[in-house]
């Protein structure tokens, strides 16, 4: 049930308004105001207030809309169509030609509207984006308080929220792509926010370019899908899939591959780019160059989850190709495990969190890949809280440590920063999957669905044991997650401070040691930051409660909520199995945490060094992130650079410019040098050249005339057609150039002229053919025909004539002569 509701557009509109106001409008207005009344419209407080309000308002609108969705029927959704954006109707009216079969049938009108849709799926995403977004905006007021680029920062941040909401609320694929690239742009701008360090800007560029690779996949996916299904908006696509005959759908192939599979693969490339999955994950760790709240908002809670959201949006499409689903699940599981192992050795607190994000996104891909769309979105939801919380805690730690990010330099912060410590601990427990915190429920649901193997996974081209493999990878990743997260936790908050003296002396614990001080007081963290940390910590603890598994005998609210929007596949196992698996995964988490406790309670610890010492090269490899960046550099970037070099230096410079362009110029000038000699300026030499030229011209013009064929078809002599059937005379057909002439014909060795010029009449320049009649005996003859003109020019030709058969005229009955004017043959 689709209802039009223009307020939805305001969810998107407010952040854009904020970006415009803060970006340039207020400062322009400020300049236009008369001098005396000039208010400072770009003061920090104004900027911050506008930015925060422009995210809080959409949150409130989204909340209201969500409440209205709760009340409505399950399929209820609100739409707001603003204008027709891309006109993509097939402009050619081919109706006229249809009957003739000359043209393929006209395609549907594929115009793309700037339209937004608020359904149950986008409601979840919108609430996450605006909710977490509001909190992070508030946090940023404190965090960026002293930064000179304050206004620019909030402009970008608002712009990001705008783009993200376009992505989430778009009612069609192309508009989603607008948001998709828009968030990429904002990510680029915010990663390189402190652009005076070149590394930051380079990281931004890397993120943008890697994302663009994914975006190309996305665009190709769009093109394939839209051309195939004939719709661009979600509902149209869904209906096209639903209404089409399954056999017809599966029969669609491009280049020998099923269209559904191919489109899914392209979209997966897009999703992998945005969500930092194998093989396009390399940009996310570098993206940590941006301010920490940005990492929390963009590179943990919202933007990077767009890939998961997109796949969930297009669940009906992915379900068409179980093989594609299996690929998604496998990529997800592999990424989850792979990124988690990299997290073991990293020393930069934000990088650990970045790899953790990649790993958690892997879980989400695993979920949507096995068909547990709602579990994937649920993990997205909980992850947004605990990962944002972790990042923001890291932010306040970095803030307190005077912008130091190396965990080896930290330690003992739990006494100095109690609020940060407690919220970090809660979030760490949540991500490690400690019941009953949020991460436990979402992660457990994913692992359970993967293990029990949904029908959709089994129908793909995967071996039977594959669900178990996926589960094992997920389980191992869960253990690893617990290990590296607790490693960070212990290194940062436990033990003794390892910070340099000047930093350590600046740190001091809260004054009063009371219960309230634990929850609130923290001298190094501004109020706005503490508030946000506590809210997010609470959410990470409690958010999981809305999606508890069925074995708990409570309703899974989250799954129920999403049921109308995304397909759902239940696991196939028993309740006992589910309990068992739950126990195993908790065990894995505990094991990971315990190992971290053993190794990193103190730093540097004997145990940790022993492990590192046992396999130094492996440690080095993990520390270097498996040298994936270097591998890409070798295999892709360097060859591309070499090709570019060859194109420019060899093809452009040498082949085209030197050989072709300059070469032809040299050829021309060489020819010129040769011909220049003729222009000596000496008259008689000119005359000589002229004479030679004249002679040549005469030869050229006159010679052909000298050999103008006198006889048109000499072949005619040898045939019967060349004889008069009545008299048996041989007929020669001749034609002369336009001049008065007479014929002289001598046939045979007798020495007499058979046709005497004196006797024959003068032929005028009629151009018509003449017929010479000769009476010849049987045998071979040579007939010499001479034409004489009045200018006493003559021309002679010898004709070989063979006369076969009886010759009636041989008795002299016939008279040789000339007849004419019969017209050209």
């Amino acid at each position: 049930m689709v209802e039009s509701n223009p307020y939805i557009a305001w969810i998107v509109g407010f952040p854009l308004l904020g970006a415009i106001l803060n970006g340039f409008l207020l400062s322009w207005i400020g300049k236009l105001l008369p001098r005396g009344t000039r208010a400072n419209l770009t003061a920090r407080s104004t900027v911050g207030l506008i930015a925060v309000l422009c995210v809080v308002f959409p949150f409130l609108i989204a909340l209201a809309a969500t409440i209205r969705l709760v009340g409505g029927s399950p399929g209820r959704e609100f739409i707001a169509v603003l204008w027709q954006w891309l006109p993509m109707a097939d402009l050619v009216d081919r109706g006229l030609y249809h009957g003739a079969g000359l043209f393929p049938p006209a395609a549907a009108d594929l115009s793309v509207a700037a339209g937004f849709v608020f359904d149950r799926l986008s409601a979840v995403m919108t609430l996450v984006v605006t909710g977490v977004g509001s909190l992070i905006h508030i946090y940023s007021i404190g965090y960026m308080g002293r930064d000179p680029g304050y206004r620019r920062y909030f402009t970008y941040l608002n712009l990001f929220v705008f783009s993200m909401l376009v992505l989430v609320l778009a009612d069609n694929m192309v508009l989603m792509f607008v948001g998709w690239e828009g968030v990429g742009l904002c990510s680029y701008l915010l990663i390189g926010f402190w652009f005076d360090k070149e590394a930051n800007a380079a990281a931004g560029k890397k993120a943008f370019v890697v994302n663009r690779i994914g975006d190309l996949g996305f665009i190709l996916g769009i093109l394939l899908l839209v051309g195939w299904l004939g719709a661009v908006d979600w509902n149209g696509l869904r209906e096209a899939v639903a209404s089409a005959d399954p056999d017809v759908l599966s029969a669609g192939t491009v280049m020998g591959t099923s269209v559904a599979f191919l489109a899914c693969m392209f979209l997966l490339i897009g999703a992998a780019g945005k969500s930092a999955q194998i093989p396009l994950f390399v940009w996310l760790p570098d993206a940590m160059a941006g301010p920490t709240p940005v990492s929390a908002l963009i590179h943990a809670a919202t933007m990077v989850t767009a890939g998961v959201y997109m796949i969930a949006r297009l669940d009906f499409l992915f379900l068409l190709s179980p093989t594609a689903m299996a690929v998604v699940a496998t990529v997800g599981a592999a990424t989850a495990l792979f990124a988690a192992t990299i997290g073991f050795a990293q020393t930069d607190i934000k990088r650990v969190l970045a790899y953790s994000t990649i790993s958690q996104l892997g879980y989400m891909f695993l979920a949507v890949g096995v068909g547990a769309f709602s579990a994937g979105i649920f993990h997205l939801f909980t992850h947004a809280f605990f990962k944002a919380c972790l990042f923001l805690c890291a932010g306040s730690v970095i803030h307190a440590m005077a912008d130091r990010q190396d965990i080896r330099e930290m330690g003992g912060l739990r006494r100095v920063m109690p609020v940060t410590h407690w919220t970090f601990l809660v979030a760490t427990l949540a991500i490690a999957g400690c019941p009953p915190l949020s991460g436990f429920f979402s992660k457990d649901e994913i692992l359970w669905t993967a293990f029990s193997g949904t029908a959709i996974l089994r129908s793909g081209l995967v071996p039977d044991f594959w669900p178990v493999v996926l589960w094992l990878a997920g389980l191992a990743a869960a253990g690893c997650t617990a290990f590296y997260m607790f490693r960070v936790y212990f290194l940062v908050f436990w033990g003794d401070s390892r910070a340099p003296q000047e930093v350590r002396s600046a740190l001091h614990a809260p004054e009063r040691r009371s219960a309230a001080s634990w929850l609130w007081n923290e001298p190094h963290t501004p109020v706005s930051m503490r508030f946000v940390l506590i809210v997010l910590g609470a959410c990470s603890a409690a958010a999981g409660l809305i999606g508890m598994p069925h074995v708990f005998h409570v309703p899974n609210l989250f799954q129920k909520w999403l049921a109308p929007s995304v397909a759902a596949f239940g696991g196939g196992g028993t309740a006992l199995e589910e309990w068992f698996l739950m126990g195993v995964s908790v065990l894995a988490a505990v094991l990971g945490a315990w190992t971290a406790w053993t190794f990193y309670r103190e730093y540097p610890s004997r145990q940790a060094q022993a492990v590192v010492g046992a396999a130094p090269r492996l440690y080095r490899l993990v520390l270097d992130k498996y040298r994936i960046d270097e591998a890409y550099g070798w295999s892709i970037v360097r060859p591309a650079r070499s090709i570019a070099f060859a194109c420019y230096e060899i093809v452009d410079r040498v082949l085209i410019d030197t050989i072709l362009v300059t070469g032809s110029a040299y050829a021309a000038s060489a020819a010129g040098a040769m011909f220049r000699r003729f222009q000596s300026g000496v008259i008689h030499r000119y005359a000589a050249v002229m004479a030679i030229g004249l002679a040549g011209a005469v030869l050229f013009v006159a010679k052909p005339f000298a050999s103008v064929p006198l006889v048109e078809r000499p072949i005619a002599f040898a045939t019967d057609g060349g004889r008069d059937p009545a008299t048996g005379e041989v007929l020669l057909r001749l034609a002369m150039p336009d001049a008065p002439y007479v014929y002289e014909v001598d046939a045979g060795p007798d020495g007499e002229l058979d046709v005497d010029p004196e006797a024959s009449p003068e032929r005028g320049p009629s151009g018509a053919a003449d017929t010479i009649r000769l009476c010849l005996p049987e045998g071979d003859h040579v007939v010499r025909v001479t034409a004489r003109s009045r200018f006493e020019m003559s021309q002679t030709i010898d004709l070989a004539v063979r006369v076969e058969g009886a010759v009636p005229c041989a008795a002299g009955a016939g008279e040789s002569g000339i007849g004419g004017g019969e017209g050209a043959p």
Binding site: G681, V682, I683, H684, A687, A691
Partner: protein, 103 residues
Amino acid sequence: MLDVGLSHYLLLAAFVFTTGAVGFVWRRNAIIALVSIELMLNASNIALVAFNRYNPVDHAGQAFALFVVAIAAAEAAVGLAIIVAVYRLRRSVRTDDVDALKG
């Protein structure tokens, strides 16, 4: 036997023309060159008149010959004037010495 036909006139014209052409190319003296040009023009006159004699459709040949005579006279006047001017400038009428046409 001495039946003078068209070809005799044409041969004569060709001979005179060749003499003029060779003279023009071979000789370096500008006056001689001018005389050679006159020879060539007159050779063409012979040819024109002879053709007209043997194909007297109209009197185009004779008329052309008269034009050529007039042009030859004009040309001789201009040519001699140029030669005199060149002589004043260069103190020579040898065509080798005058290569101003090279530009």
